[in-house]
Amino acid sequence: MSESALDRTARALDLVPYLLEHQGISISELAMVFGVTEKQINEDLVLIHMCGLPGYTPLELIEMYYEDGYVTVSDPQSLNRPRKMTRNELTSILVALDLMKAGRAGEISEVIMNLESKLIKNLKVDNPYVVVSDLVANPMIADLEEAISKSRGLQITYLSAHRDAKTERRIFPSEIFTTNREVYVNAWCESSQADRTFRVDRILECSLLSDADSVAIKKPLAQTTHHEHNEAGIKLFVSQSARSFIEENRAIVSDVRADENGFAVDLENIESEWLIRTILGYGGAIRVIEPEQLVGAIATRATEIYAKYL
């Protein structure tokens, strides 16, 4: 793919001031920072090397050295300062800041807020993006992040929806993320000896484990997560009114085909108990097509509940 001269010019204009602040940087690091190949960076440098001010004697050219894959700029001529940010650059950073702020409590959310207003005030930009988050700030997030950063385990008291019980566990967290309206943490769970996903708002208490205990509960290296393969496959019919089910469960949807009334949906192999309980909440707007026993199980469950309300 050949790049436009304009894109290349933009990069070259940004390269020079960047080099000025990162003297002696390696070509490979530059390539990474600018998201292009090392070959491309080399070609850019050769080109920049030939540019300068009218006269174009050595005194007037941009002066730089690149030796053994390291670059130094000694005279940038008039390119000594970075260009101002474009609207797109600024707004995409602002949205990210908004997202980082969501769910965070305390001092750090104030730091981010001040930073945003500083940027907006000085750079005068109309931000077309608005981030709305219904995440409730949760101090547990900071503890989990600390555990991940320091590679430490945690002792948690957890309300398990699945077991419907309050449980004590030692976990080794690997990833914390938010999707839809909730914050989750992926972790190796010592007691179940498996990777598990926990909802952060259901962690009642947590405390950092010592280094020694953290090592002790770490996931064994040889362990590979084993997925049962579902031969039969789960097929659903999801009507228009329940399409949020598809959107909220993208991770387990393997195929969607739309027709006039709704969607034929194939699911990855998932636990049937989860599916039964979830589908009940959509009251007929989601129908199981296959497998047969799931259809029966849902009908039975619904009849039992209905009996309570007669």
């Binding site: 436009s4 001269a5 290349r8 010019t9 933009a10 070259a12 204009l13 940004d14 960047y18 998201g35 080109l47 001010l53 009218p54 390119l79 300062r81 970075p82 260009r83 101002k84 940010m85 650059e89 600024l90 995409s92 950073i93 990210a96 997202l99 980082m100 969501a102 965070r104 730091v111 500083k118 940027l119 000085n122 077309p128 993006y129 608005v130 981030v131 709305v132 219904d134 900071a142 992040e145 309300l159 398990s160 929806a161 419907d164 309050k166 990833e175 914390i176 993320f177 938010t178 999707t179 309206r181 009940l280 909440g281 009251g283 007929g284 849902i298 509940i305 209905y306 309570k308 309300y309």
Partner: protein, 311 residues
């Protein structure tokens, strides 16, 4: 080809930045390296180059020269309008910005966020590295649509697209804001056919977005507040339900509810909720272990839902 043009654009930028006074066109064509050919083709080249640099957001100022000279216009790039001027940033703030720039993984917003942060990193501010930020948003990856719409918003141009709601239809919308809400992207805008504000989920767009050629077609009211147009967000309004919970079950409901009394097989709790639809789903998760006692409408709603499943 790309080499020579890039080289010329760089030389032009360097020269226009370096000069304190305006440079005459003839001076530029004569002295800036890269202008070749007949006078006419040189001039055409220069006109195109000016447009190109402007499209990169570089401001080229045109000014009158000294009146003693011929009335040929002069050009320069004022340093002030060219360079990034930001307020003082602390090392911690720069570190937060770096994290923000890396937030987008490989989505359409990633390239601009990263080129933005490179500029900030060229200011010579040290960055601290002791932040524990790990929380990531798993979201629907924003598509190209996002950029087109944000462009339309900044130009105040109306857009047209085919949208999949109850039925597919062509929508004509004045775009006001792009909203990221709980993991999904939305367009909020004034639907000119329906003559009201509407919210569109970007994942339900079924065509490309066409941008009107006209600019400044509408004005977003200065007191416009997108939050007032989001449905079901009145978290202030909460309802209360009385539930009978079987002994030893539904620990999560118990945990956030208020214990009332204890029966033989069940305990009675009072639980508040704001979104009925979500609450119903939560209650049904517990099957026969949870029964709604009050309010009657909620009992009815549950009964209707399960009846729907049986039917």
């Amino acid at each position: 080809m790309s080499d020579r043009k890039t080289e010329r654009l760089l030389n032009l930028t360097l020269a226009l930045l370096a000069t304190k006074r305006y440079l005459k066109k003839s001076e530029i064509l004569e002295n800036v390296f890269g202008y070749e050919g007949s006078q006419e083709s040189k001039e055409r080249m220069f006109e195109r180059d000016k447009d190109d640099l402007r499209s990169l957001g570089i401001e080229i100022e045109v000014g009158d020269l000294d009146p003693f000279f011929e009335d040929e216009p002069g050009y320069r790039i004022p340093q002030k309008s060219y360079e990034l001027i930001v307020p003082e940033l602390s090392p911690q703030e720069l570190a937060i910005l770096s994290l923000a720039a890396n937030y987008w993984n490989d989505s359409v917003l990633a390239p601009s966020a990263q080129s933005g942060i490179r500029k900030l990193q060229s200011l010579g501010i040290p960055s601290s590295n002791d932040l524990d930020f790990r929380l990531k948003n798993r979201f629907e990856n924003p598509m190209q649509t996002l950029e087109v719409i944000s462009e339309a918003i900044s130009r105040a141009s109306s857009i047209t697209f085919s949208y999949d709601s109850k039925e597919r239809s062509l929508r004509h919308v004045q775009p006001y804001r792009v909203i990221f809400w709980n993991g999904f992207w939305y367009l909020m805008g004034f639907d000119t056919d329906r003559e009201s504000m509407r919210l569109f989920k970007l994942s339900r767009f079924v065509s490309e977005v066409t941008l009107s050629k006209k600019k400044n077609e509408f004005k977003i009211p200065t007191d416009f507040d997108p939050l007032t147009y989001l449905p079901d967000r009145d978290i202030e309004i909460t309802h209360t339900a009385q539930l009978a919970i079987s002994k030893g079950s539904a620990v999560i409901l118990r945990n956030r509810g208020k214990f009332l009394t204890s029966g033989e097989e069940v305990d009675f709790y009072e639980v508040t909720y704001s979104n009925e639809f979500q609450f119903l789903r939560e209650l049904l998760w517990y099957g026969t272990n949870v029964e709604v006692i009050e309010p009657a409408e909620l009992r009815m709603a549950i009964a209707n839902l399960v009846k729907g499943v049986i039917a």
